[in-house]
């Protein structure tokens, strides 16, 4: 039986990034700092790993496959506080785990702002920081071998709490830092297609709407005061229970270089 097919298109609406950008600007402006000299840094890195997505609109079977991407970060830190803006994109080519040839390609982009306040003594090796942040994440997926509806997307903007634990090992002028940073959202806005189409619909809610945990385990080594290289393991999990429920897990190795001005 031959059945009708129609073309569908989804366009990225950049206007939806605006609320997050505004939130980031406001947050940056209201955080007061003590009069220690700020230190600025910038970093760039590569990501490689694995992405697994279960988009319940298409199937309950997860689509899993290799992923690669890049990350760029700028930040500023003072004696007890730090601000960081980070952008990350990940491209993945996945396949239904039990069905060969049933593939899905995803392009994922995330931008985030994080403010952290150092709770413990700055002079101690073990440090604990807590804070908050805001981020947006945009995922666009293209499935093959589905009639008519082969595109899917979601855009999530979240306000989240953040925590960082780290341990410094000082070796003369060089320093080794082992750290783990986690983000958990408390308020989110989600845009995704309606059940049977491609037109987007906004929903807002708390953890009950969008659940995600973003965890980054890193080892960074500083050289000569300005240079730093790092190796990290990134685990990003998010899920939302809507008419078109989606669960996604990203596990990536991160290799990056940072320059401290």
């Amino acid at each position: 039986m031959r059945i009708k097919t129609r073309q569908t298109q989804i366009y990225l609406n950049l206007c939806r990034l605006l609320p997050t950008a505004l939130f980031i600007s406001l947050t940056l402006g209201v955080v007061a700092q003590k009069s220690t000299k700020p230190q600025f840094y910038a970093s760039a890195g590569f990501l490689a790993g694995n992405v697994s997505t279960r988009d319940g609109y298409f199937s309950a079977i997860p689509f899993t496959g290799p992923a690669y991407g890049a990350v760029a970060t700028v930040g500023m830190s003072q004696r007890r506080s730090s601000h960081e803006i980070s952008f990350r994109f990940i491209s993945s080519h996945t396949e239904a785990e039990t069905m060969e040839g049933q593939t899905m390609d995803q392009f994922y982009f995330k931008g985030s702002y994080t403010f952290l306040y150092l709770v413990t003594d700055p002079a101690k090796s073990f440090k604990f920081s807590a804070g908050a942040g805001a981020d947006f994440q945009d995922a666009n997926r293209a499935y093959n071998k589905f009639i008519n509806n082969h595109l899917s997307y979601e855009f999530i903007a979240s306000a989240n709490i953040a925590a960082l634990v780290s341990y410094d090992i000082q070796k003369g002028p060089n320093k080794l830092i082992i750290s783990d940073q986690v983000h958990i959202p408390f308020l989110s806005a989600l845009k995704q297609p309606l059940l049977g189409g491609t037109d987007g619909q906004w929903q807002t809610g708390s953890w009950a709407l969008v659940q995600y945990v973003s965890n980054e385990l890193k080892i960074e080594k500083g050289f000569g005061g300005h240079h730093q290289v790092g190796l990290g393991y990134l685990l990003n999990y998010y899920a939302f229970q809507t008419d078109r429920e989606v669960t996604e897990v990203q596990q990536l190795i991160e290799v990056k270089y940072a320059y401290h001005f």
């Binding site: 039986m1 031959r2 239904a96 785990e97 009639i147 509806n149 059940l195 393991y233 999990y237 669960t247």
Partner: protein
């Protein structure tokens, strides 16, 4: 030396763990769906319940179907028996876009044409109407019968290029009209419908409206969304007779519904088979594919066309005529154009 090895141990550990996890083909963080018969039956019923678009129009009590068919489902039943049970349940919606495909069988509802007379014989068409010198304009076979152009388009799935339609329109110059035969055309790509239809209009028109599902309720639909079509080239304004039967389905059904609204078009033959909604697919946890209709297509006059499009004149093929190679539907169309 020992100290430097010690310092690099955490680094090596993280690297190995990361590489190990990223190499996994299955993800441990996402639970895999259950694929026992009970779970598969429920998955099919739920997907249909939330997404199928014609429960209300067809007055189907889907919950009653669950109660009826679920009785025989158990975890000891074979894959084949489960397939049969689900197929039977799906057939209660009487929809040719609803299907179930497994590695060992395919189930599609055929009740929209099997019980009815075909009113079409392809061999007779080629032996007695598409006789030499037959021309092909892409997927369209063309001949001239008594100063009338006869074009047969077997499937909207066969790609139709602009140049093909140009050639068809050019071939019609000097003829009294066009008989456009879309019998036994089970549909295909709607772009081909557009490409053909825009040669018959001289102003922008709505070809059809589409209502999409907006929620999981049986009546949760968007407002009708119009699909506009702009004319292409000089509109063909001579008389056109479109031949249909019960196997004109899906995109072909859309085509017949639109053409019936044009003033120079007459629909002749039997009613179309229907298929007035967009088909979608879902992969079940055991890998079977479920096809379902997820929208409602409306005619330019905002009427549902799922039950088919009625011709202006019903004309059938008598079995005796068929044996003699006569196609009264084509003959009537040619005579009709001569009378206009």
């Amino acid at each position: 030396m020992q100290r430097s090895v010690k310092n690099t141990m955490p680094l090596v550990f993280v690297l190995l763990v990361g590489i190990g996890i990223s190499a996994c083909k299955k993800n441990v963080f996402i639970a895999h769906p259950s694929s026992n018969p009970e779970a598969i039956f429920n998955e099919v019923w739920n997907v249909m319940d939330q997404r199928y678009s014609f429960f209300v129009l067809k007055n189907v009590d889907w919950k009653a179907q669950y109660d009826s068919f679920h009785q025989v489902v158990n975890d000891q039943m074979s894959e084949e028996d489960l397939f049969k049970t689900i197929s039977e349940m799906l057939k209660t919606v009487h929809d040719g876009h609803v299907s179930l495909i497994s590695g060992f069988d395919t189930s599609v509802y055929t009740g929209f044409y099997i019980p009815y007379s075909r009113n079409f014989n392809l061999i007779n068409v080629y032996d007695f109407y598409l006789t030499k010198p037959i021309k092909h304009y892409g997927p369209i076979a063309f001949n001239i019968i008594d100063s009338v152009g006869y074009a047969y388009y077997h499937s909207f799935n066969d790609m139709l290029n602009e140049s093909d339609v140009d050639s068809l329109v050019n071939a019609l110059q000097g003829l009294k009209g066009l008989v456009l035969d879309v019998r036994a055309n089970f549909g295909g790509n709607s772009e081909n419908v557009d490409r053909l239809c825009r040669r018959f209009i001289d102003q922008e028109l709505v070809v059809y409206y589409e209502k999409s599902k907006t929620g999981t309720g049986h009546n949760d639909f968007s407002e009708p969304h119009p699909h506009h079509l702009k004319p292409q080239g000089m509109a063909y304004k001579m008389p056109i007779v479109v031949l249909t039967n019960r196997t004109c389905y899906s995109a072909c059904n859309d085509f017949a519904a639109f053409m019936s609204t044009l003033p120079n078009v007459t629909i002749l033959g039997d009613q179309t088979g229907g298929g007035g909604g967009l088909p979608f697919e879902y992969i079940l946890a055991n890998g079977w594919r479920l096809g379902y209709t997820g929208s409602i297509t409306l005619s330019p006059s905002l009427e549902p066309i799922e039950q088919g499009v009625y011709p202006d004149n019903f004309v059938y093929i008598d079995p005796i005529d068929e044996i003699q190679g006569i196609d009264p539907i084509i003959d009537s169309a040619v005579h009709l154009i001569h009378r206009l």
